[in-house]
Subunit: 380 residues, 2 copies
Amino acid sequence: MSFVSEPTAPSIRTAVPGAATHRIKEDLDAVIDARTVQMVIDYDKSIGNYITDVDGNTYLDVYAQIASIPVGYNNPALLKAAKSPEIVSAPVNRPAVGNFPSHQWLALLREGLMRAAPPGCTQVFPAQSGSEANDLAFKAAFMRYRRQQRGDNPWTEYEQATAMKNQAPGSPDLAILSFRNSFHGRSFGSLSTTRSKPIHKLDIPAFKWPQATFPQLKYPLEAHIQENAKEEVRCLEEVKTIISSWHCPVAGIIVEPIQSEGGDNHASPAFFQQLQAITKEHGITLIVDEVQTGFAATGKFWAHEHWALPSPVDIVNFSKKAQTAGYFFSDENLRPDKAYRQFNTWMGDAARIIICNAVIDEILSNKLVEKNGSCWHGTI
Amino acid sequence: MSFVSEPTAPSIRTAVPGAATHRIKEDLDAVIDARTVQMVIDYDKSIGNYITDVDGNTYLDVYAQIASIPVGYNNPALLKAAKSPEIVSAPVNRPAVGNFPSHQWLALLREGLMRAAPPGCTQVFPAQSGSEANDLAFKAAFMRYRRQQRGDNPWTEYEQATAMKNQAPGSPDLAILSFRNSFHGRSFGSLSTTRSKPIHKLDIPAFKWPQATFPQLKYPLEAHIQENAKEEVRCLEEVKTIISSWHCPVAGIIVEPIQSEGGDNHASPAFFQQLQAITKEHGITLIVDEVQTGFAATGKFWAHEHWALPSPVDIVNFSKKAQTAGYFFSDENLRPDKAYRQFNTWMGDAARIIICNAVIDEILSNKLVEKNGSCWHGTI
């Protein structure tokens, strides 16, 4: 990775935000809600770790577009991918990829995206955002759960009729358990599992799904070994209690390896190992939300690789630094019993996967996993 | 619009699907669920209305990627946009556009996408799929509804605490009403309003939201004038009954101008005029789902323009032929009272909006609205 003209230091020339940002923000506000705009950026002038606004101020960017810029602004490898002949066709001839994939789709996945598949995950379902990936993962978990109950029995008329009315048993009361302070997105499914701030949730109807406490560890870890172990056991007991007492079955558990938007909260490999054991015991799908932690952020390609689990995670979700989104999965039963149950018009975006593949190239060829590992300060 | 080398007729050379499709489908199935794959396409060889598969068969494409190809394969204007310098930066330097829009964002929206805004709609919220657009529209409707009740009173501690637990009043029981046979998408919010087929809904938890009957008109229309008017009144009465008797308030109504995925079902302008009147009377947000019907498919740019409504629609959703997605809106109160309530990391995709703008250029410069109008066979 070489950014030949990357600045060596920030350079601030105006008040922040500057006059040009103010002016554009005001104009933007006439067509979109621009209250959240912090700065207007000249991306053509932003290079590597440095971002330059329309007022000519250059900043060292540690915010990275809400943790979404993986290998720097105007990365030469990504620019090359963005100018390739393959990427021109993708937006011009956008396919309903589930029905009519292009002749390049197989290579984009098998020789491309699947290089990032976590250990034991053999399949992928592409999506367009982290929220969508989580919603799709929940649907896979629900279908798998009902399949365990139904076996090979066909769908009954009554199930089908009640599903059309949003009623059980066709549309059953099933839950996804998440953890306090977690963030999993803002669509209706994912928002029902997000537990970080009222600003996300107020006034929005939610599924009556449960939350368990995420361990609150004390630092330095080596001075609180027994206390922290006890705290993790307490949280796991809470998970078990919810599973046995919630008003409806828990079909899935979603967890972040490191809680991010809701606080920088960690737990030990032992915690996650035991959490996986609980899900296996109850036929619950374990969904690891690596939207923030995936793609080489923690010294492994995926943060959950630090846990040394005895078997693969059921579902691993990705977005943000991947520049595309979706979920990898390891259990064949997470592919629904019938075609078209997990389906939509576009099912991802080939153009974004081409960029994602360039990101993976950069990570692998520059050994970024290994380099990040040397500055890893997790609890592991 | 000129496709100089567009075929003049289909040409079938092998069994369909052919051997190459079979082989690639089998390989694809190892990494994604490929049961839904009908043909593998060589998009580089597909031109205008004709699509060519990897076995060398060329078809006249009336399916158009689930109604998503607006102006033909390899349209020269779209190819030009896909090779422009602006589109290179968009995927390489993908912004969290709500926080750090590019210096081109304003022009992409104001001089670009907003040309497509329906009458009276002054603002847009970009998204990435029709399902996401619908979910976002529902959230806007819920926040607007609660704002009508709360007025300028601040959020209470109790509201905020209950929202974090997925409980009322913070996370209130509010509904979106939809119509039987409608299709509005597959995420958890939109799926709760989709009412077309059990394959979409079975085993997936749903909000307990209501459905009303969509008019079933008899044809030829001129021979069934009174009968059809009576049918529409019956359906509107059903809407009113649901609003007054449902277990929770109805905050929004979503309707397709022409039911598409769930059948080719039409209703008269009078029906939609009265539906709008009902929503206005009850402070309910009217959401017109133009994911299928928008972008010049019906002789108007938007199908709802045929209704000659006395005031603008609250929300109009778009996707598919737009090549991007989102919702336009007319009522200032659909912008939430606080920033960051309707927000996510990417909030759409500038690269897709660049292509959308080329589609709008093609529609306007080739007068496609006017030309489609001459073959319009709706009920209007």
